[in-house]
């Protein structure tokens, strides 16, 4: 799939974290188009009205203003057009309740944002390999 360059939607409210993902993508030579939404409401709007064709991958933060990641997931899974998109949670929240809620809404993975950029780079490299194997 990554060969076909499907687009990716990043739902993240922190500016530095967005820069972090962009930098890690470019260092790992990930060339897929990246859309960014600052919260759940904005992400739903982009999925319903802006991005066409729909992204196959969503990277989702949990703690965000307006509509948080879990609320966004609930809305998304209830929407016939959006419910089958793969979601990867990327968050600082190590709360068991967030993990349980996310897996109950069938995310493909729950990744803790590491402190160091080097570690983040290697997590993104692993994700890239995984995405390359996936048929989407």
């Amino acid at each position: 799939m990554i060969q076909k360059l499907v687009s990716i939607l990043l739902v993240e409210d922190d500016e530095v974290d967005v820069m972090n993902v962009k930098r890690a993508f470019s260092k790992n030579n990930i060339k897929n188009e990246l859309f960014v939404a600052g919260n759940g409401v904005e992400a739903l709007d982009m999925l319903r009205n802006v991005i066409n064709p729909l992204p196959k991958i969503i990277i989702l933060d949990i703690n965000m203003p307006k509509m948080n990641g879990i609320e966004f997931l609930k809305e998304m899974r209830a929407d016939e057009n959006l419910k089958n998109i793969s979601v990867f949670v990327m968050t600082t929240s190590n709360e068991d309740s967030d993990k349980i809620n996310a897996y109950n809404l069938n995310v493909a993975g729950y990744i803790l944002k590491p402190l160091s950029f080097e570690k983040f780079l290697s997590s993104v490299a692993t994700l890239k390999n995984f995405w390359s194997l996936c048929e989407m």
């Binding site: 530095v16 974290d17 703690n63 929240s93 709360e95 402190l115 950029f117």
Partner: protein, 242 residues
């Protein structure tokens, strides 16, 4: 009387909620800018001209190391505050097995001789598995981390009575000076400066809080030949003391 009791209960609920919110803020809202500091430092370092002096590089390393320490301390505080949470944590574990798993994950295990003396007749126990694993991890890590010998020795002795498991972990490290013996179970206390051994000083505080919650106990003794002995009692039937 009932009125007063109701009010106290209500007040307690409010305080508990405030405390939960506080912990959540520490775990997410403060971690975000902290991670930003660490990440931006790496970007700047990355973008620097290779000709900049070694001073700048070593200061960047210091900066990142201290942010790392801040994160460990924050995680320590969080773990300590979560000791009271026991939902979903009762399951069956095999005590010798979690000990060997804990040894497996140690970084410096090549230079340590581990001796496990297993006198258990009931190795499997249905208990707060995650918490017992945490206590064992902290104690085994400490036995190795603070030991400055080239070749280290750690003895783990497993005994049981009708009511409890008694687990004894001793090492041939420097031990704890008599004068500070009572302080080692306090959060963030370290015997040496944190620059000597990079540690947070949270492990023993967390372990002793866990043992308090499950109704067990932990004590420290100095070994005759130098070194430390930590002994803890883990009740077979847990009555939570929260």
């Amino acid at each position: 009387m009932e009125e007063i009791e109701r009010n106290y209960k209500k007040e307690l609920e409010v305080l508990k909620q405030e405390y939960e919110d506080f912990v959540y803020i520490v775990s997410h809202d403060i971690k975000t800018p902290m991670r930003a500091i660490s990440n931006i430092a790496t970007w700047i370092e990355d973008d620097l001209d290779p000709s900049v002096g070694g001073d700048i590089i070593s200061n960047f390393n210091l900066l990142k190391n201290r942010v790392g320490r801040l994160e460990s301390m924050m995680n320590g505080l969080l773990e300590l505050s979560r000791v009271n949470r026991v939902e979903l944590e009762f399951y069956e574990i095999n005590i010798p097995k979690i000990i060997s798993e804990s040894i497996e994950t140690l970084e410096d295990k090549e230079n340590v001789d581990f001796l496990v003396i297993n006198n258990l007749s009931n190795e499997n126990v249905d208990t707060l598995g995650k918490k017992l694993t945490r206590v064992l991890n902290h104690l085994i890590t400490n036995a190795v981390r603070f030991n400055n010998k080239e070749k280290k020795e750690v003895v783990i002795e497993l005994n049981e009575t009708a009511e409890a498991y008694e687990i004894k972990i001793s090492d041939d490290g420097p031990g704890v000076p008599e004068a500070v013996k009572d302080k080692i179970f306090s959060i963030f206390y370290t015997v040496n400066s944190k620059d000597v051994v990079d540690s947070t000083g949270a492990g023993l505080a967390i372990s002793s809080k866990i043992l308090q919650v499950v109704g067990g106990s932990i004590k420290y003794e100095t070994r005759d030949t130098g070194g430390s002995i930590f002994t803890f009692n883990w009740p077979k039937t847990i009555t939570l003391k929260i």
